[in-house]
Amino acid sequence: MKTLDWEPKIVAFLCHWCSYAGADLAGVSRMQYPPNVRVIRVPCSGAINPLYIFKALREGADGVLVSGCHPGDCHYISGNYYARRKFMVMKNLLEWLGFEPERVQFSWVSASEGQKFSQVVEEVVESVRSLGPARKMIKEFSFDVRR
């Protein structure tokens, strides 16, 4: 499975008001960051249903990045506070079940932090690259069933 030309696929859910603008800023400022992320714009980090993350993993993403506004800066006042609780519960559960914690990562990136965005993407891509293709409980086991 692991081949030389394998590149990690990362799905990034970015909130419209901060992180998406942060990614845009990184782009217009000509900052370099790995092209492994596929960005999906969502209205708010609070709008991210855990099912979105599961679906991304199911469809073959090697990692998922979720990014929203810093606490207190949410365009909708409190969306990211709710998201924080939800993600914490979800992350604890996934880790307890043996998912590698690097597969699903979270960050706060504001609209002015183009630099931070490119840094976060670099870190996420590198950590997923060192894990290798998503196999645990994903491809391996779905193939097992068809045997």
Partner: protein, 315 residues
């Protein structure tokens, strides 16, 4: 006899016309099983039973009467009453329409464990009366036969009820040193062992949705698992999709699950699936100090927030 008291209460309620029907348990068609019973006629109240095999969480049936006018009397164990309390909080049913017959619960017996410990046992040899279990005439301790979720029971008494049949028990088995907590067994595993365990269990799942259908708090009109646009999980019972279905279900239960274990008991291939929502319920209890279904008027933990919530996992 508690059963007689329940029948008496049920009889009176129906006779006076205080309720339209009673939901309880009756003897099942197989040994050591009970089936839910809905009695609309006083004569049927004779069939009501109450014993440690009453595994169904009857709060489940309230969803079918949502928006109606009928008054319902419901037999509730501790966990059933907590589920009713969550349904009331989520405005799925009106309190005025309910009469709750509270039954302090000594724990449910797992029929499989019973047969392991007492091979060739027949239903006639098991007697249960007012919290005392007699097998073949000899008094036995129930703690070795308990269902998984009952080993971590904290509220054997119904927190809300209109009638109470029997004595309040106070503490559940969670505090008892005699009983090994089901979740501890899985917590003790290494992460790799646990991962392998779940991978193996998920391969056995046949996706019958019995766990969802047994859950008193799963009342979505359309379940995400059966939604086709978008399709969140494949309808085929592939191991990873089975796991994602359970994860999705567990996330829906976060902060709501009353740890009744009805999902695990309903599983036809005996996957202990109740440990996932119970694990989340435990982490929520530790993290936010919240326990679901206790009628305290507290906001559910995922519907509120604190500015100083933990965020060391976020970059």
């Amino acid at each position: 006899m508690y059963e007689d008291k329940i029948r008496k209460i049920a009889w009176d309620l129906l006779e006076k016309g205080n309720v339209d029907f009673i939901i309880g348990w009756e003897k099942g068609s197989l040994p050591f099983l009970t089936a839910p019973l809905i009695c609309r006629d006083v004569a049927e109240t004779e069939r009501l039973v109450w014993n440690p095999f009453c595994a169904n969480n009857l709060a489940r049936y309230l969803k079918y009467y949502k928006g109606g006018k009928e008054k319902i009397a419901l037999c509730v164990k501790g966990c059933d009453a907590r589920a009713v309390s969550v349904l009331l909080r989520e405005e799925q049913i009106e309190r005025e329409r309910l009469v709750l017959i509270g039954l302090p619960c000594h724990g449910l017996i797992n029929p499989k464990k019973l047969l392991e410990n007492f091979p060739d046992i027949t239903p006639g040899e098991v007697e249960w009366e007012e919290g005392i279990l007699r097998i073949r005439g000899k008094e036995e301790n129930i703690v070795h036969l308990l269902e998984g979720s009952c080993t971590r029971c904290r509220y054997p008494d119904p927190p809300i009820h209109d009638f109470l049949v029997g004595e309040k028990l106070g503490e559940g088995y969670a505090e008892s040193s005699e009983v090994e907590d089901m979740l501890e067994y899985y917590d003790k595993m290494s992460t790799e062992e646990r991962e392998e365990f779940f991978a193996r269990e998920m391969e056995r799942c046949i996706r019958c949705y019995a766990c969802r259908n047994a859950c008193p708090l799963c009342y979505c009109q359309e379940c995400f698992a059966e939604s086709t646009r978008p399709s969140w999980v494949s309808p085929a019972p592939l191991a990873f999709d089975n796991l994602l279905f359970q994860l999705g279900r567990t996330m829906h239960m976060a902060g709501r699950c009353v740890e009744c274990g009805a999902c695990g008991r309903s599983c036809p291939v005996e996957i202990p699936i109740d440990i996932l929502p119970e694990k989340v319920a435990e982490s929520i209890r530790k993290e936010f100090g919240f326990e679901s279904g206790l009628d305290t008027g507290e906001t559910a933990p995922l519907l509120t927030y604190r500015e100083d919530d933990q965020e060391d996992f976020i970059k």
